[in-house]
Symmetry: C4
Subunit: 262 residues, 4 copies
């Protein structure tokens, strides 16, 4: 009976609705006015949600048994429900309690397969760009060290140490008021525009090629996969043709023998 | 006779010209100087346009009869003409009257098939990105809630409630003075740059993969469609080859029988 | 003899060098200090260049005769040389004289085939985006009219008439301080962010789809072209196979006749 | 024995670790506080690193002998080690000494093959965009000359000479506060927005087409390469089929001869 409930659509839809409803309430709560007006209700709401999530996860575990813990998403769900059961004095660890409320909303992913697919796709795309990330880090690192050596004396404090310099370079990368940063640096030496322009052109060039490489890589994978069945048929045909050619030669030989005999 | 007019090029071109002319006049009217100078003419112009559109749509309906209302674009045209016939006191619902004048210009789409195609293509592209929109909304929602919890006390009021926070995040997404927002937040805690940099990197990564996924998806569709006819020929050839191989074996057998008999 | 000179590499390289040299000098001339220091030389330089270009074009026309005027690039060259021969008092039409000097530098394209190819490619790409340009214009027009109705009273004057409004929208499209424009408008009505956010999302969506459509279109053209020869071979093979099948059936029939006779 | 060390994983990993460790220390050194606190240690650190690099490169050269200098990356490594052995008084050529320290970190590329591949890929991508770079330079040059003629009198000094104008144009290209530049210019003549909008649209169009051209070019190369093996099989099959058809005709002729004889 539990596994009927677990597989039923109304159960999955109810959970989705509860999460969305909770998300909406959490959204309204960011308005200070509403938070104060309904001050006494938040406690009961939290209690109801916690109870619903507890019952829901118990149903799921009872139905799936060992299977339940084989999915990463289920473990994620379980951990969130488990942690929110720990009684936290909101006054002390308010930030943690609030983050947990938010993570509950992330359970939405587990209740919509399409979103789960996109997340899986995004996670699967990470390895293909890992070396570019390393390369970008090296570029940031080198420009960051140069920048913090050259510009550390500037009053804006944008280059005071390596981490700050790399944050400033990230800002330059997004073109966010980067000329203000450049004009300040050019007061030290009017040739320092080379530092900024070269950084922008190099990173743009790296991103451009990353983009091309990923598209081409995906396309190659697609081609290999799609070509498979057609190529198999053509290769099979090639073997048949060769055997036909061979057989025909034998037939011809036989016929010539017959002809000579007569 | 009406259907001759309806199908004729001059009728369709006349309508296009009237709409473009109307659009140009509407454009000039945005200059206050011109609006005042020709104050008395706007009324007559509106009357003439309304009459032309009325006559035009009557001709189209009379010619096409029931067919007319089967096209969404025709219904759109009909509604605009119908609504502009309602006598609206401009002083009261000025905004609505003005919007209706603008919608009349949108009738241009119906008179140029190429534009209609692009609009149809754009509408057709929406489903393929619907899940990405949901995902982006979740990212905005989560960052919005975190942002309005962390930064609601900031004097700029950019994080006063969830909606304002999400608007601020949209601004960060467009890189529009996002460092001003970040530097203000970093006065609370110098580690808050992580919030902004992670938001930018995550959304950029999602958009990047969306882009790749759409290109690859379109390409796969194209490939499937294009491969069709060639694959059919190759599969047919495979069947013929197999039958040829079988027949040839029979021929060989027959010949060997003949040879033994002699 | 003239046609030997015209076809020779040194002649083409000399022209390229003269143009590049002229471009460099024109570049230095933008520095006021240098312009004043060498004041008396500019006149002689212009004279020498004008004479060289005159001699060069005479050689080309004498060598190519009627063929010369069949290339658009040659006509472009000819017009520039012809117009710069007209004696212009620099004090009167200074701007025109300066523009003509610049157009001379554009003759560089005609002396490098690779650049000519890129320009031809770029010109050839225009028709494929013409309808998108019309669509973008309609979007700009509609938002421009709405904007100049709603925001014309704002003190910044960014929406004073239609043209100014469209320029402001172009600025919003480039994300250039667009929030300043939005925050000013939101002082009239806090819901006006919808105007800006919808404009950005709609134009981004249109550009995104334009991009995809162009890539897919190019790829389809490439596929059609590339598939040609392979498809021809496969179709030919199909016909041969069918005739082989038919012939084999005849051979079998003949053999069976032979067998029955014995 | 040396070649065992040279090929061993621990040796390559040790070098990588030393470089990363050195990079981290260099990073901390950008914080002024830390630099002063450990003032006396930097000298010894530099000595240790220099010695390690010296020993490492001696091992590599001894093991590889002549082969060592055939790789560009090895020569790069060698030069860095060699130059850092020259005793430089830091007070005099501080900048050079610091740059050399940084270049040492770039040796990281040589110890990770994936990064080496990406760098090779990036270098290989340069020729395919060289003509676009020339074209972009011409556009910048022409707009730069026009800009410095038209706007040189502006108080911001953004157009004082050609180089400054081109830097300002690069700023406009990145959309960085480009409207400030435009609004200042429009005070001279309200039509000067055409200069900026046309520059943005032209460069965007060139980049857009560059992007498409590179993707299509890569795809074509991929197709040619991938089509190879399949096309070979199909062409081979075509020859076999023709010979089969010919042989079958001969068999049929033989049979008809046989039949007539009887």
């Amino acid at each position: 009976m539990l596994s009927d409930v677990r597989k039923s659509n109304w159960f999955s839809n109810l959970t989705t609705s509860v999460i969305i409803g909770y998300a909406v309430v959490l959204g309204f709560k960011t308005s200070h006015q509403i938070e104060v007006a309904f001050e006494h209700w938040w406690f009961y709401l939290d209690l109801v949600i916690t109870l619903y999530f507890l019952i829901e996860i118990v149903i799921k575990i009872s139905a799936d048994k060992k299977e339940f813990f084989k999915s990463g998403w289920n473990i994620f769900d379980f951990l969130i429900v488990a942690v929110t059961l720990i009684p936290i004095e909101e006054s002390e660890f308010m930030m943690i309690a609030r983050l947990l409320r938010l993570f509950r909303v992330l359970r939405l992913f587990n209740s919509r397969p399409e979103l789960k697919n996109i997340i899986d796709m995004l996670i699967g795309a990470i390895p293909s760009i890992i070396d570019i990330v390393i390369l970008m880090f090296i570029i940031f690192y080198v420009y960051g060290v140069i920048g913090s050596f050259l510009f550390s004396s500037l009053p804006s404090g944008l280059w005071s140490d390596l981490l700050t310099s790399m944050l400033t370079l990230f800002r330059v990368l997004t073109f966010e008021d980067w000329t203000d940063v450049m004009y300040e640096a050019m007061e030290l030496n009017s040739l320092y525009w080379i530092y900024f322009v070269s950084f922008i052109i190099i990173t743009a060039f790296v991103f451009f090629n990353l983009f091309i490489a990923v598209i081409i890589g995906e396309m190659e994978a697609l081609r290999e996969q799609g070509k498979g069945s057609m190529k198999t048929t053509i290769d099979e045909d090639h073997k048949i043709l060769e055997s036909v050619q061979k057989e025909l030669a034998e037939v011809k030989a036989l016929l010539q023998e017959l002809k000579q005999k007569e």
